[in-house]
């Protein structure tokens, strides 16, 4: 069995290939061996025993990566028993990793991947410190098989919603975070005293303080949800004070201080189709992603509605309609998320050695009249089936056959 798998080769031939890491290549071949990309180009010789996928007239891109949402952590939004993305009891859930809450059997996974999304962030939500997010491939029978990287970041909430966790003031939120970060450093210095109870109580339990250390040492990014300009500035200030590796999420008013964000070298996760004003984000607008990119910020585009993560390509298309270049938008759903989540050595572009997450599209992936022809995850072709395609097949002729 292993030998058969190792021998597996697939050649996607004749398509227009968008490697993302370089310019598009017309009439090119993508050769996949053992789940990895072996070669990309116009002069790739295809071994005779390779399975061929004819992509003539088609577009070939890396699988799209959705950097938002809760894939695998929510099945039915309104049914609490199917939601595993939030630790309700703990406002500082730094040690909470969502990984073991993932459901590899989620029906959302096939629904999503057959539309070209092959990798997604599964992020915790809520409270002050929500927990640790992980990155998953949308294939695999077990959690271990799905995980791409765990954790990829610690999610913290600096939006209006966090005030309830900090006495009702934005200043309380930042004060509480500062105290947590200082306490984590104190805990690290005096672990022995802490365990013997020979020091004043700290502001979180030991496992949560311990979980903050990789963030404080710059090994794990802090993913900060901040919408209002002043809250984004607070996040930047905290990151500077504690020398954190910051990723901004949401950042509705980020466009207003795009230059500062760019100067800080902080990437931003943006859902392009957000423009409904609230008191937390009066300046929210469709052009946010484009204006950030223009200022030099690395932007990752999101679809945060987990059930419709498949609309990531609609989000990207709209980002183009509102000012991003098409190439920038494709990068923002492939290579940029790979870089931001620390997996660019394996994901995000069509280059030899990378994991073979590849999609063959009938045309421009961002257009509504484009369909997915083939999806490969880790070099395995995915059947274009889901619970929804089964429902369609059952009811396309009435009455149905049960």
């Amino acid at each position: 069995m292993i030998a058969v798998l190792l021998a597996q080769m697939i050649a996607i031939t004749g398509g227009t290939v968008y490697p993302v890491s370089g310019p598009k290549i017309a009439n090119a071949t993508v050769l996949i061996r053992d789940g990895k990309i072996a070669a990309v180009g116009t002069n790739v010789s295809v071994p005779t025993d390779a399975t061929r996928i004819d992509a003539a007239g088609k577009w070939v891109t890396p699988g799209l990566i959705d950097g938002g949402g809760q894939m695998g952590l929510v099945e039915i939004g309104a049914v609490a028993g199917t939601r595993d993305g939030s630790l309700a009891t703990d406002s500082v859930a730094a040690s909470f990793s969502v990984a073991e809450g993932l459901n590899p059997a989620s029906v959302l996974i096939p629904v999503t991947r057959i539309e070209g999304i092959t990798t997604a962030l599964a992020a915790p939500v809520g409270h002050l410190i929500s927990g640790q997010a992980v990155l998953i491939d949308l294939d695999g029978a077990t959690i271990e098989q799905m995980l791409v990287k765990s954790p990829v970041g610690l999610v913290v909430n600096l939006s209006e919603a966090a005030k309830d966790e900090a006495g009702g003031s934005r200043a309380g939120v930042s004060a509480r975070l500062r105290r947590l970060l200082r306490d984590a450093l104190e805990y690290e210095r005096r672990k022995v005293d802490f365990s013997r109870g020979q020091m004043q109580p700290l502001s979180a339990a030991a496992p949560d303080l311990e979980a903050l250390l990789p963030v404080l040492h710059g090994r794990l990014p802090l993913i900060a949800d901040a919408e209002r300009r002043s809250d984004i500035e607070t996040a930047l200030r905290l990151a500077k004070e504690f020398q954190l590796k910051l990723i901004l999420a949401g950042a509705a008013e980020g466009w207003e201080i795009a230059g500062e964000i760019a100067a800080a070298g902080v990437p931003v996760l943006v859902q392009p189709l957000d423009n409904i004003p609230s008191y937390d984000s009066l300046g929210v607008r469709y052009e946010n992603a484009a204006l950030l990119v223009k200022a030099g910020v690395k932007v990752v585009l999101l679809e945060t509605d987990t059930h419709n993560s498949r609309n990531l390509r609609q989000q990207a298309g709209n980002a183009v309609a509102y000012g991003m270049s098409w190439d920038q938008a494709l990068r923002a759903v492939t290579l940029s998320p790979s870089e931001v989540f620390g997996v660019a050595d394996r994901y995000g572009s069509l280059e030899p050695g990378k994991v073979a997450n590849v999609v063959v599209w009938s045309s421009d992936p961002f257009e509504f009249t484009t369909g997915v022809e083939h999806v490969l995850i880790r070099g395995k072709e995915i059947p274009l089936k889901s619970r929804q395609t089964e429902l369609f097949e059952r009811y396309k002729k009435l009455p149905p056959t049960y």
Partner: protein
Amino acid sequence: MRNPEYLLVALAIGCASAGARRTETANPATPAPPARAPVSQAAAESASVDRAQYPSTYRRHPNPPVLIRNATVMTATGQEIRNGSIVLRDGRIVAVGEKADAPAGAVVVDGTGKYVTPGLIDDHSHLGVYAAPGTDAESDGNEATNPVTAEVWAEHSFWPQDPQIPLAIAGGITTIQALPGSANLIGGRSAILKLIPARTVQEMKFPGARYGLKMACGENPKRVYGRRGGPSTRMGNMAGYRTAFSQAEAYRRKWDSWNKDKKGDPPERNLRLESLAEVLRGNIYVQNHCYRADEMAQMVDLAHEFGFKIRSFHHAVEAYKIADLLAKEGTSVSVWADWWGFKEEAMDGIQQNAALNQQAGGRPLLHSDSPSGIQRLNQEAAKAMYAGQRAGIPITRDQALRWITVNPAWTLGLDSIVGTLEPGKMADVVVWSGDPFSVYSKAVQVYNDGWLVYDRNDAAHQPRTDFQLGQVPAPGSDR
């Protein structure tokens, strides 16, 4: 990252609608031409009252004639005219075709590379009743104090300064049905509105439009009232509708009897039963939030029991399972392109829902139920069209356009007035930067009754609400 729970909460309070508006005064500034069928003037507000109630004060905005030429004109009547022209004058479409002459004094718009469609119509919106910025202070969509509140009218909650309104206008929307939410079995009357900048909701009320009555099936009412005296089950929901309409039958008889000779004191007015009696008289359209196929079939039976028609099932994520039944009933199907899974009764949503209902001979349409979705109904129609085509259902571009124009117009009883590009129809017209079914296209001009209410390239035609002034940065400003 915006809280994903937002969607859940929004839906929990949002989806359901009711209410439509009656036929009132005809548009005083626009004399009706013979081509336009009058909107059932017979549909009195209420047989209990013979004076005008809460009348529309809508007036057409005076404008020079407009000729848009060299555009691709999509009429929603089966035609897509390359290098076509359209002429708007005095609030009417006066010519559509390959060639048209500019009337005297006309503004000429070069439509090269552009597309022209009818103004889009959203038959399921909560604009104005769940206004931004979304605080409790603006949460005015659910009178969740009783499972039957047929007496409330969405227009009495509607806030014309909702900053979501100009966003929807910029998406090409010219008419909406603003509905109460879905907390109640019977949530109240809807408001049918011209989507224009205005100081009062009366100035927006579509002249002559009938009210709708929002009804809601399934999870929402039983969740809201399950621990507050019921209903707590779907059978409790059904009993609730039946009780209400039984009372309405008696009320209607009492008033009809008194109206014959008007002798003695009139019966006491009951605002709740008045709305329901108007449904029974056929003067108010039932707009029914309902997800599951089996529940829609129950509601059809309920309508048969009391002798009314359900005008549209809204959300209707399982409509494709009973598309034959719904086509036979003549009930339209107001759906999303792809929403699913946010609650249990939405688990079986599929992208071919609209297409399968079209194939079955029904009347599908795309609705938003969302201040975001309303800004891109054209994109939702494109997705639903392509989902059908890809699955082998030959949906045409004209059919998909009808899903967001004349089909919702029919659902509001306004298809003789708006929803297509035909001479005599109200000049509700959108000029698109390109094919409206492309993700890259945007509305560049929106005409409502001939009034240029939005121009993407002219700040003088980009209305802003009071809410936005000094608070929401204008595009390009540094605050």
